[in-house]
Every structure is written in C-alpha cells, then in structure tokens.
C-alpha cells in the first residue's frame, strides 16, 4: 500500500461516511412536515353503482 493509496482510501471512505452521517443528522434534526396529499382516492367517481 503506497502513501497515495492510503490517502485515496482515507479520503474516499471517510468522505462518503461523513457525507452520509451529515445527511442523517440533518434529517433527524429537521422536524417532520405536516401534510395533506391529494390523491386519486379523493376523487369520487360515482361510477361504482
């Protein structure tokens, strides 16, 4: 393993791990959004008789 190999490995592994950890932390600290979804089920087709 050369010094360049060590550098690439450490930057790649910790870079990806760090980005993922930052994202998860951010997701968990933002409060959940309130919502109302308009769905197809909101439409009453009146053709079910």
């Amino acid at each position: 393993m050369t010094p360049a190999g060590w550098i690439i490995m450490i930057v790649s592994v910790f870079g990806m791990t760090g980005l993922f950890a930052w994202c998860i932390r951010k997701v968990l600290t933002i409060p959940e959004a309130a919502e109302h979804l308009h769905s197809q089920s909101d439409i009453d087709p009146h053709d079910q008789e």
Binding site: T2, I8, V13, L19, F20, C23, I24, A33, E35
Partner: protein, 576 residues
C-alpha cells in the same frame, strides 16, 4: 381508502437506500474499480456522482412527488399528470416493466444468496473448491521449474473456479451451456427442486408478504431493521478481513495490506494475454473507458432509470425535503459501496485468490463472477470461513431483498391505481407474472444465457433509455422552472446554483455520450450480445419474452388511461 405514505423521513431514506444497495455495491464496484485504475477510479466516480447520479436522482424524486401530489404513484400516471396528455402515459410503461423483468432474475440470485448462506452454515460448501484443486493437482506431473509450478498453481485455481461455477449451475438447476442433449428435463427439475427452488420460494414469499403489507407496514418496516442489520453484518466481515494479516507465511506478498493496496493504490491492472499489466494513474485517467466505467457504476448503483424512485417519491409528504432525502439515499448508497464494499471483497480475494482472478471478474463487470465463482474459494481458505461465508451471503441476501421489494412496488402501484385492482388481486397477478418469469430464467436457461441477456436488455439498455428520456423530459418538457420548484419545495438544504445548467446541458450530454458509446460498443459494432441475438434461438426467445411483457403492460397502460379519463369526466360532470 387513503393513499399510502411513508411513516417518516428516515423510513423513506432507508427504503430508497435499500433499493439502491444490492449485490453491485459489494461485488460489482470493487471489481470495476480495480480493473479501471484502482484508486484513480475514484476521481471519475465522484465526478459522475455529482454530474450524473445525483441530478438524475433529484429529477426522479421531483417528478415522483409531483405525481404523488396529483394522486399518482405509478410512472404512467406520473408522466400523464406532468404533461396532462394521455399519450405520455406510455413513456411510463418502461418504468413499470424494467423493475418487473429485473425482479424475475434478481429473485433467483437472491435465492442463491440465501441458499449459499444456508449451505455455508450447515457445512454444505466446505470442500467444493478444495476437491477440484486436489483432483487437478493429482493429475499434474511433478513441477520441474518454478515457472511450471506457477502454471500448475494457476491451473488449480482455475479448476476451483470452474468447480464453483458448476456447483452454482447444478444448485440453481440451470441447463449447462451447450448441454441440451445430455441434460434431461427430469434431471434439471430434480436439481432445481433439491437445490435452489426452496430458497426461491422463500424469497418469493418474503417479498410478496412485505409488498402485501404495503408501503408503511411492509417495505418501510423491513428496511428499518434490515439496513442496520446490513451495516452490522458488513462491519463484522470487515473486521475479519482487516485482521487476516498474512495467512500463508510461505506467500508473504499475499497480505491484507497488499490487498488493500491492490484496491486503493492509484494503479490500475489489465489482463493482456493472461498476464497482469499495470496501468499508471494518468494513463488510467486519460482512458475514456475509465470514465465510462465510473459513470456506468454510478448509474447502476444508484438505481436511477429504474422507475423505482419515481414510485417511492410519490409516497412522500407534500412538504418533505426531497432534495435532502435524495442526497441522503445517494450518500447512503455510496457509504455501502465505498466504505464497506471497497474494503471487503478485493482485499480478501487478493489474499486467497491472487490478482488475476479479481481482474478477470472485474473486467466482465459481473457480480456473479466475483461473488459466486471466486469468493467461495476465499471462504474455503479463510479461518472460520464457513461462518463468514454464510454471513457474507446472508448480507447479500438482505441487500437483495431490500432491492427486490422496490422492484415490485411500481407494478403494484400501477395495477392498483391504473386498473382499480385491490391489493390482493394486484399481488396475485404480479406474483403470477413474476413467477412465470423466474421459472423461465431457471428452466429455459442455457448456462446463464437467459439471465445474462435479460440483464443486458433491461438493466442496461432500457435503463439507459429511461434515464435519458427522464432527464430530457424534466429539463425540456416539464420545464426546469416547474421541476426545480417542486424539488426546492420544503427543502432545508440549498440546491447548487449551477443545478439548472447541469440539468439542462451537462447531465443530458453526459448521458447521451455514455449511452451513445455504449450503443456503439455493444450494439452497432456487432458485439457479443448482438451476435448471440442473431445466432442463438434461446437469446431470441429471451428478447421475445421481454417484448411480450412490454406489449402486455402497454395494453394495460392504455386501459388505465381510458379508466382515468372516465374518472375525470365523471368528476367534471358532478362538479357541473
């Protein structure tokens, strides 16, 4: 009945990450990286992540949630909702059949993973490679020179890999290549029944049980414990691999440190006439093939162009931060691929198999080559290898289930909202279609020909095609303003200022170059797949099978559009 939705933001991120994390993260990525510059591969890989993977993922998330807000979760409904035109629903047909067809062979591989895990833990895989190597060694004359000895060792390794290949074919009940005359149908059925069929049935049952339970109580519930379990399994195997040291004192160069170097040093390796040739850092980076391989890896790894993200994103809440969710899922996939996948397979394979086998598998970009043909030799020689072999294949099984679940949901969503089927009917219908396909893959196969060609035409050609259509559709038809407004709605993170430019010009150009060069290499230059299509009747049957599925779903999409039109007409009449 209320429309389904994810229980939490973390739930959807774990589900999308689970969809993306599969065999390719642990097997395909390290092999491709080694064969394309080693550590140098990470530069084009990260650039492709930024310019290709993430933008397409954002496109799919934005289109999916837009569709969800308008009451649609299936790709045909989403495309139609975006344009308001009925004919655009047919674009979505691709996004329904791609995951369904991939599921048909993916579930077989999932069954093999579970079967191998079971076999390792019950002692059934202990001597497959050793017996073949001993048998070959017994037939070889005594070596007189070091060169002859080296050659004989290579022959023994090759015999081991052939033995694992043959083991897989028998376990899977697959007709060996060019073996139609000798292989009676009864033998195939018996081997299939005694080998992989019970595991295939378990996989089908697990997948359809979870899909039947729905988005929140099925997929999200499973991914909530499966993804952490995946990390734990991978970490245990990682510790085992990193503490291997130098297992054979007679071969000091076969050490874990050299194995890590083989993966991460900025030096690529190629096989030229069977000899290993080093490729320098700049030489690797100046080779267009390295960039294409990196873009291809990002593309397949993130599950973009599958149609899965479109459907998953439609179940998010109206004010959710989909930009952050998308980034989280993409980086989660990168974590599994780089931090775990890149540290396990290659170093272990280097120590026990040597570099030639790794490059041979990596050049084929084949998960099967490295996973099922080469790795059994690793676990057979590794201390406590039966336990770690079982754990590794169980890890692959979990990763495969989280992916295969996501392949079923787009079709379930379509059958429910397009044809008005209930959950029971849609699960039954899809179960029948996919079971037919899975049996086709196992029992009609010619070696791994059916599986290989299904993979080529759906998981390569159709995915490239769909992703290219999606990006052009988003940037040029839906309109960037409208699309980016959807993406930014509820976003706590700031989107890059260059994103509109990247989405409008860079990503489509990047995609078109990759797709174009892929077409020119694989299709227009009469590559092996096209040659096989012209000559091999089983390959022709495979393509006919794909087209029949496409036609079937295209008709269903047409019926769905008529139904949606009727619902909307009735709604307007009531309003009037």
């Amino acid at each position: 009945m209320a429309k389904e939705k994810w229980g939490s933001k973390l739930g959807v991120i774990l589900a999308v990450t689970g969809s993306a994390v599969g065999l390719g993260n642990f097997l395909r990525f390290p092999g491709v990286a080694c064969a394309n510059g080693g550590g140098a591969f990470m530069i084009p890989y990260i650039i492709a992540f930024i310019l290709l993977g993430l933008p397409i993922a954002w496109v799919e998330w934005a289109m999916g949630r837009y569709g969800g807000r308008n009451g649609f979760s299936s790709a045909p409904g989403i495309f139609r909702a975006i344009t308001g035109k009925n004919r655009t629903a047919q674009i979505g047909t691709l996004a329904v059949i791609i995951p369904v067809i991939i599921y048909m062979y993916y579930v077989s591989i999932e069954g093999w993973c579970l079967g191998y895990a079971w076999k390792y833990w019950t002692g059934g895989m202990d001597t497959v490679v050793a017996e073949a190597q001993l048998h070959t060694a017994a037939e070889q004359p005594p070596a007189t020179t070091p060169e002859t000895e080296q050659l004989q060792l290579l022959e023994q390794k090759e015999a081991g890999i052939n033995a694992t290949k043959s083991y897989l074919l028998h376990f899977a009940g697959i007709v060996a290549e060019n073996d139609h005359q000798k292989s009676g149908n009864l033998r195939i059925l018996r081997e299939f029944g005694q080998g992989s069929m019970p595991f295939l049935l378990i996989c089908f049952a697990v997948n359809f049980f979870l899909i039947y339970r729905g988005i929140n109580r099925g997929i999200e519930w499973f991914c909530r414990w499966a993804m952490p379990a995946l990390v734990v399994c991978a970490l245990i195997i990682l510790v085992r691999v990193l503490t291997l040291g130098t297992p054979n004192s007679l071969m000091p160069e076969a050490s874990i440190s050299n194995g890590l170097g083989f993966m991460w040093n900025p030096v690529g390796h190629n096989l030229v006439n069977g000899d290993l040739v080093e490729v320098g850092f700049w030489e690797a980076l100046s080779n267009p093939q390295t960039w294409l391989a990196a873009a291809g890896q990002i593309f397949f790894s993130l599950s973009v162009g599958f149609g899965v993200i479109l459907t998953y994103a439609s179940y998010t809440k109206e004010n959710d931060d989909i930009a952050l969710s998308s980034l989280s899922a993409a980086s989660g996939n990168g974590f599994f691929e780089v931090a775990l996948g890149g540290m396990i397979v290659i170093p272990a394979a280097f120590v026990f198999l040597g570099p030639t086998s790794i490059i041979s598998a990596g050049e084929k970009a084949s998960s099967l080559s490295l996973g099922f043909f080469a790795l059994p030799g690793v676990f057979e020689n590794m201390p406590a290898g039966h336990f770690f072999g079982g754990l590794f294949f169980f890890l692959l099984f979990i990763a495969a289930v989280t992916s295969s679940l996501s392949m079923l949901q787009p079709a379930i969503a379509f059958l429910e909202e397009g044809l008005g089927l209930g959950r029971h009917a849609s699960v039954t219908l899809l179960g029948f279609i996919t079971a037919t396909g899975a049996l086709f893959v196992s029992l009609v196969s010619d070696g791994l020909v059916v599986l290989d060609h299904l993979d080529f035409w759906t998981a390569n050609f159709c995915i490239f095609l769909l992703a290219t259509i999606e990006v052009i559709f988003f940037s040029w038809i839906m309109g960037l303003d409208r699309g980016l407004k959807e993406l930014a709605h509820g976003a706590e993170i700031r989107l890059p200022k260059a994103l509109p430019f990247v989405l409008k010009y860079i990503t489509p150009a990047f995609l078109l170059i990759i797709f174009g060069s892929w077409l020119s290499r694989e299709v227009f230059s009469n590559g092996p797949y096209i040659k096989a299509l012209k000559e091999n009747s089983i390959v022709q049957l495979t393509l006919a099978f794909i087209l029949a599925n496409y036609l079937f779903f295209a008709i269903l999409v047409h019926i769905a559009v008529q139904r949606w039109k009727k619902i909307e007409r009735n709604g307007k009449e009531v309003e009037a």
